[in-house]
Amino acid sequence: MKINHIIKVFIFGVLISGYASGQVQQGGILTYVESEFPRAYDPITATDDIVNVRMTTMMYEGLFGYDIDREIRSRLADSYTVGRDNKELTVRMKRGKRWADGREVTARDVAKTIEAIWASDNLQEQRIISDIEEVRVEDDYTLTFLYQTPLPEEVMLRKLTFKLVPAHKINNLPLTRQSELARSPVGSGFYQMVRRGPTDITLRANQHFRQRDGGNMGPYIDEVRMYVQTDVGTQIEFLLNQQVDVMVEIPPPAIARLRAAGFQIKPYESLAYHFIAFNFNHSILRDQKVRQAMTYGFNRENALDRIYQNQGTLISGPFPPASAFYVRDRDAEPFPYDPAEAIRLLSQAGFNERASDGTRINNNGDRLSFTLVVPRHEGDDYTPRVTAQFISDMRRIGISIDLQELEFERWIQRVKYEHNFDLAFAQVVFDEAGNVAPMFLSTNNKPGAENFISYNNPEADELIKRFRETASPSERINLNRRLHRLLREDCPYIFLWSLNKNAAANQKVRNFMTRVTPFSFFDYVNEWYIREDW
């Protein structure tokens, strides 16, 4: 056994600027605005909801987490020991850590959380812990994890970054969005939920969270309030009128106005993009020529310019431009708008004739007619304009599109779980790891999994497999760039654009500019503070 792997002590370097200037203030209220309520308040049943991710980040924590340097750090864990064959990990938990209701956090909570993840339909978290074969509770504060295969120490720890839920609040499995925990969260993180009003949610600093607790500081801000306002224009007015302090994503046209009004503007990520996915269960859409034709036939440059004022970048494949794996070579640029090439490809695919309504048909009478499912959201002016142009451009090359706008939850059900669509429009957001593999790995096509298009390309599978097996950074880059090129050519999606993202905050919110994470946004909210005298 390797012994005594004492977890690195967290250095409070991240706070140096605040402490050094002596300006850090305890207390105050932080307000922010979202377009909707989270679909649940626990970290298991709704992690495909970005509002949920942002909120649960403030309320829950795992055995391990990441610091701002992406180093793995202890949260609820105190120390660990790696077994000799790197298939076993014994974790000793901190004593005295408490849930927001005062009960102590113990090893049983860890085991119960893993059980809850496996019982849930959260395939993403299941994928992350899938290497853990068995969990043994040795005593109240000690667990042993047995892994299926030998893993590097760092990877073993990274598997334990899932957020814990309290065993005593789980009466039945599976957890659902109707479960008590999903409605009345009890976490061990920085904040606990104390109020849910018709248009707002209030979190208060978790009184049981120990300040400056080995690697994880308590928050400076006493209270966080989330307001819900569906209309983006009204959200901006809230910000300007100081009704809220932070807006997590501001539309590009508002940047200049907010900057002029003295707000902090933080560009915080580009690891997201819009796409139109093809369902490979549809026999016509399995034809690469048809998919390529539709990509050539959609004037994306025009849409980006006209609808988003060019505040973004056209993309050529599955990795967003800010990813290390994006291919910048001249021969791997986004497909240009070329309706003539689109028509040529459709002809090659056998769709030479046109029906009376202009839709192309082949010799079997199959029509190029598809449904496009689009998530609908009140106050979203952009998506309807994008789909309108798409439908118009497709009509021009002889493809008929039937638009179906769905509530987002219904969209998720139809697309991710039922696979009941021809074309699906949405946006995908990655965390810093930028892992696109789940979306294109052939074995990951179960209902609820990310490969909802049922993509099956042995060459892509092989590249993904080799990527997982290699530790060489340059080899990893080469493999994923090959994947990018392959998927650019194969067009499982029409890869659209990656929009510039900016958050805005009132000047009184300090440490905001350097402490925003692209994905969960509030990971370092404990380091923010409010200057009431600002």
Binding site: R127, E154, A322, P375, I477, N500, T514, F519
Partner: protein, 479 residues
């Protein structure tokens, strides 16, 4: 001199020193035009220009080369800095950086003036016992000799250089290149690297460096054009191509060549001040501080005086440097004094191994507290550069963040290439790893106009991957 004329001079000086010769504003409005394209247009124009028009074209060409040189300076410094960080991270994570890692680590240290580190790294590389190609081994020997030569271990250096196989040793190749860089045996190099006939790819950079070191500037435009064309097609390499490593030396050479051409094009102009300024700046930026002093001494314009102060500082005559700067302070308008302080600090700190911010107590806080409306983005950039060179990356980020124009962040007309390079590099060097995607984004934007920024994209991408290894990653679909 009355107050008004001083003010006018200062404005002109700032115009000059801030290298913002706003050539072809109309072109800029239409879209960002990289320097090498503007230079190419001007060289065409020079062939037919006569009289005062010729003088204008020459001065504009000099300004363009000067600006290009400054961008390359920033590129090589940031590439070398991020390169060393990358190898440190690889070591910390027990990841093998590959056979050539020690070589490129050594070169990065050399460029940053850390000759002892360079020597250690190169020696370890050569003794590693790993199978090395003859080309890589020769490169290691040449650079090890250079690191030793700079530490005045001439005998050791010669041993390394003499161990290089004769055909390479006697050709205009890597051995000639490093010798030109350190200023060894220049007369012999002049013959070995004479640009006659067609020049093959391998010889271009050694030849440029030798021409710069021996003061033969006339053939440089043609050679640089060859290099620019090649650079413009870097992105056409195949998917299986090797990743570009961190050899910042080529960027150093290109920066030297552009400083040389700024001096070259003003050789025959009637404007003595500009002639002196560009010549002094060339000597300064190629480390020939004594010659810079020789050229600049007696300058009565503030731009040249700033360089003079910087050159005195670098030669160790710090009292004289401060005297010169006090003269500048007395002469300059208060409105621009802090900008001049920043520029002086920048020049003084460019010398290797200097830590001027501690030596020269410039009041950064005063500078930062000035109203943003009165400070140009370029001034913020210079202030950030001072912090960057001092290793105070968090401070650099703070300054750059205040000046970053987020609404059009991928438009080089709004955030200039140097600003973007510096901002992205500060993110990386501050180890702000959660924001590496922003840095990659910035470098990629610059790369569209300056293909040499690819080295920054690649190195940062590698750091991004190393710090993410083992993460499964989470994906969310949303409206």
């Amino acid at each position: 001199m009355n107050g008004i004329s001083i003010h006018i001079i200062i404005i002109l000086v700032l115009f000059l020193v801030e290298n913002s010769f706003s050539l072809q504003r109309a072109d800029r409005r239409a879209g960002y035009v990289p320097h090498f394209e503007r230079i190419s247009q001007l060289e065409d124009k020079l062939r037919t220009a006569r009289g005062s028009e010729r003088e204008t074209v020459l001065l504009t060409l000099a300004a363009e080369h000067f600006e290009q040189a400054q961008l390359y300076t920033l590129l090589w410094r940031t590439t070398a800095s991020i390169g060393t960080l990358y190898y440190d991270i690889m070591e910390d994570n027990d990841v093998d950086a590959g056979r050539a890692a020690g070589l490129y680590r050594g070169i990065s240290y050399f460029e940053l003036g850390k000759y002892d580190n360079a020597e250690n790294s190169l020696q370890t590389f050569l003794r590693s016992g790993r199978e090395l190609s003859q080309e890589i081994r020769t490169k290691g020997q040449a650079w090890l000799g250079a690191a030793q030569y700079m530490q005045e271990k001439e005998q050791h250096a010669l041993e390394q250089w003499n161990a290089i196989p004769a055909p390479v040793r006697n050709d205009c190749s890597i051995a000639a290149y490093v010798q030109a860089r350190v200023g060894y045996n220049l007369d012999a190099l002049r013959e070995r690297c004479s640009p006659t006939g067609s020049v093959d790819e391998q010889r271009v950079i050694p030849m440029i460096q030798t021409l710069v070191a021996t003061g033969q500037f006339e053939p440089l435009p043609a050679l640089l054009e060859k290099k620019s064309v090649e650079a413009a097609y870097i992105d056409q390499k195949g998917s299986e191509a090797e990743l570009r490593y961190f050899d910042s030396s080529e960027l150093v050479t290109l920066s030297h060549a552009h400083y040389a051409l700024a001096a070259y094009y003003t050789r025959d102009v009637s404007n003595e001040k500009k002639k002196r300024y560009y010549t002094g700046a060339f000597y300064f930026h190629t480390g020939q501080y004594d010659k810079a002093v020789e050229v600049l001494v007696g300058s009565d314009d503030l731009a040249s005086a700033l360089y003079l102060a910087g050159a005195y500082y670098q030669t160790g005559s710090r009292t004289i440097a401060e005297d010169v700067f006090q003269y500048i302070e007395k002469t300059a308008d208060k409105e621009v004094l802090q900008d001049l302080q920043v520029m002086y600090a920048m020049l003084a700190i460019e010398g290797r191994d200097s830590n001027v911010a501690d030596v020269f107590p410039i009041n950064m806080n005063n500078h930062q507290s000035r109203s943003r409306q009165n400070v140009s983005q370029d001034t913020y950039k210079k202030l950030a550069l001072v912090y960057f060179y001092n290793g105070k990356y968090d401070k650099a980020l703070e300054v750059l963040g205040a000046a970053f124009r987020t609404e059009r962040r991928d438009d080089l007309r709004v955030n200039d290439p140097g600003f973007m390079v510096l901002y992205g590099s500060s993110i990386v060097m501050a180890k702000n790893f959660i924001s590496l995607s922003e840095a990659i984004d910035m470098f990629s934007t610059v790369m569209r106009a300056y293909p040499h920024a690819e080295a920054l994209v690649e190195t940062t991408s590698l750091i991004d991957v190393v710090t993410n290894i083992g993460r499964e990653g989470r994906v969310i679909y949303r409206r």
